[in-house]
């Protein structure tokens, strides 16, 4: 699976919840094949930011540059949903088997025979072959994450946004999830991972962002030798 190099720029993103500010002038960019870890305390706005970037929530203000210049948000919801895939903290499984859940990600695009072949590949890719016929609502948390990642692999997004993907997983399930994320990153997908435990994602992170009270305040590059923190918003 190969992707054309991606650069998505989100500029000056604002969001309020009543009187309470949710996000204040956030600027962020997603680059294909790059892993970004977003940390911050509870209520900092991590999930809100991810949902806005994925086109699931409307910001009050902000623009997106998908390579064709800055565009207003309302004009690019469908493009965002096409390019970016958001994974909930607890991925939702549709009523049906693991295989049918995988089929959902491709049934719009492929014929029946090819669809079956792609499902088999995805099951193998995520190590789910043994539970292919199990009811998806009865599988474990770690298996749910892998089904969600297999759906992402089938969907072939440009960017994958993950909300606490390893929360409540045992060490073995966490390792398997990280392996799959690493492979997705290697294939050229931009990863943005919101987590309270950034050290879990050290092997994936090229960049760390810190969100505090709606402000994307600190940023440092994992590979950079210069001062690790760079303020992106006053």
């Amino acid at each position: 699976m190969t992707h054309t190099p991606l650069k998505l720029h989100f500029n000056d993103v604002h969001k309020r919840f009543g009187r309470r500010p949710g996000l204040i002038g956030v600027n962020i960019q997603l680059i294909g094949g790059e892993g970004t870890v977003l940390t911050g305390p509870n209520g900092a706005g991590k999930t809100t930011l991810l949902r806005i970037l994925a086109g699931l929530e409307k910001p009050d203000r902000g623009s997106v540059d998908m390579g064709l210049g800055a565009t207003r948000w309302r004009r690019c919801y469908s493009d965002l949903r096409t390019s970016i895939l958001y994974l909930h903290q607890h991925p939702y499984m549709f009523d049906g088997s693991v295989s049918s859940n995988l089929a959902y990600a491709i049934s719009d695009k492929h014929n029946r025979c090819l669809c079956q072949q792609r499902i088999s590949e995805a099951l193998k890719w995520a190590g789910l072959t043994a539970i292919a016929d199990n009811h998806a609502k009865t599988i474990s948390g770690g298996e749910r994450q892998r089904v969600a990642l297999a759906r992402a692999w089938l969907r072939e997004p440009r960017a994958l946004l993950l909300d606490e993907p390893t929360a409540n997983l045992d060490p073995e399930a966490r390792t398997r999830t990280l392996e799959l994320l690493f492979r997705l990153k290697e294939s050229g997908i931009a990863l943005l991972i919101a987590s309270h435990d950034p050290h879990h994602f050290a092997s994936l992170a090229d960049k760390h962002l810190q969100l505090t009270q709606g402000v994307l305040a600190e940023e440092f590059s994992e590979t950079s030798n210069v001062t690790p923190f760079r303020r992106t918003h006053p």
């Binding site: 994925a54 949903r81 970016i84 958001y86 909930h88 607890h90 991925p91 939702y92 009523d95 759906r151």
Partner: protein, 232 residues
């Protein structure tokens, strides 16, 4: 006047012997009510979805309105459509009064709020992640709507059964709009009302048995589809 025992045995005889008049009444009842529910269901469920997932001014008022309409008496619906469809009414030129079409219109009006209110309740209880997951996996809005509806299909099926149960057994609107014409607009409830008023209980009891059997069958089918009441 027949005793209860005689009336019941006569009713069973009518059912078993395949009495043509009785089964014609049953057929009309089903034809009218199934047509009404088939027409009402798609727009009602879409309305329920919009009320459950949309955010627009007046949404809460609409939800309250449909909840209120749940308990609207059938005769009020009958009276309203009677006034609309009667010769002097605004739709009098359509000449629909005392036809099956008029009965269907009345039953659509009766079933619509039930389908919307119960459908809204079922859809609102659906996990919002289902809608979002469908969208992020590339589903177009129509497919995402179908997906969410499939996820809460038992709640929607319960709404469908409740609506069908209400219209197949209602007498007020059918009597006023259909006119209880034999072999044309006489359905089960209007026939029961007529036969009872004449003191002829056998046919009324036989039709009552048909309604009870229908109710039992539909509920048994629903229970079976839900997996015998086991949680999903």
């Amino acid at each position: 006047m027949e005793t209860l025992g005689n009336a019941t045995s006569n009713a069973l005889f009518l059912l078993i012997s395949g009495d043509a008049e009785l089964w014609q009444i049953v057929a009309i009842s089903f034809q009218v009510s199934i047509t009404a529910i088939l027409i009402a269901t798609p727009p009602a469920l879409l309305t329920a979805f919009v009320l459950a997932y949309g955010r627009f001014p007046g949404r809460r008022v609409l939800i309250s309105l449909f909840s209120t309409l749940l308990s609207i008496p059938a005769v009020v619906i009958g009276l309203t459509f009677y006034l609309l469809l009667s010769r002097q009414g605004p739709l009098g030129d359509w000449r629909l009064l005392f036809t099956q079409t008029a009965m269907i219109l009345g039953q659509i009006a009766l079933s619509f709020p039930i389908l919307v209110a119960m459908g809204h309740s079922a859809l609102q209880s659906a996990d919002r992640r289902a809608w979002e997951t469908a969208l992020t996996l590339g589903a177009n809005p129509l497919r995402a709507v179908s997906t969410v509806m499939w996820e809460v299909r038992f709640g929607l099926l319960a709404a469908l059964l409740a609506a069908f149960g209400r219209i197949v057994a209602e007498v007020g609107a059918s009597m006023m709009l259909g006119g209880n014409i034999l072999n044309y607009t006489r359905n089960i409830p209007t026939a029961i009302a007529l036969e009872t008023s004449k003191g002829e209980f056998a046919q009324g009891i036989a039709l009552g048995i048909v309604l009870l059997t229908l109710s039992f069958t539909l509920n048994a089918l629903f229970y079976h589809l839900r997996g015998g009441g086991q949680p999903a």
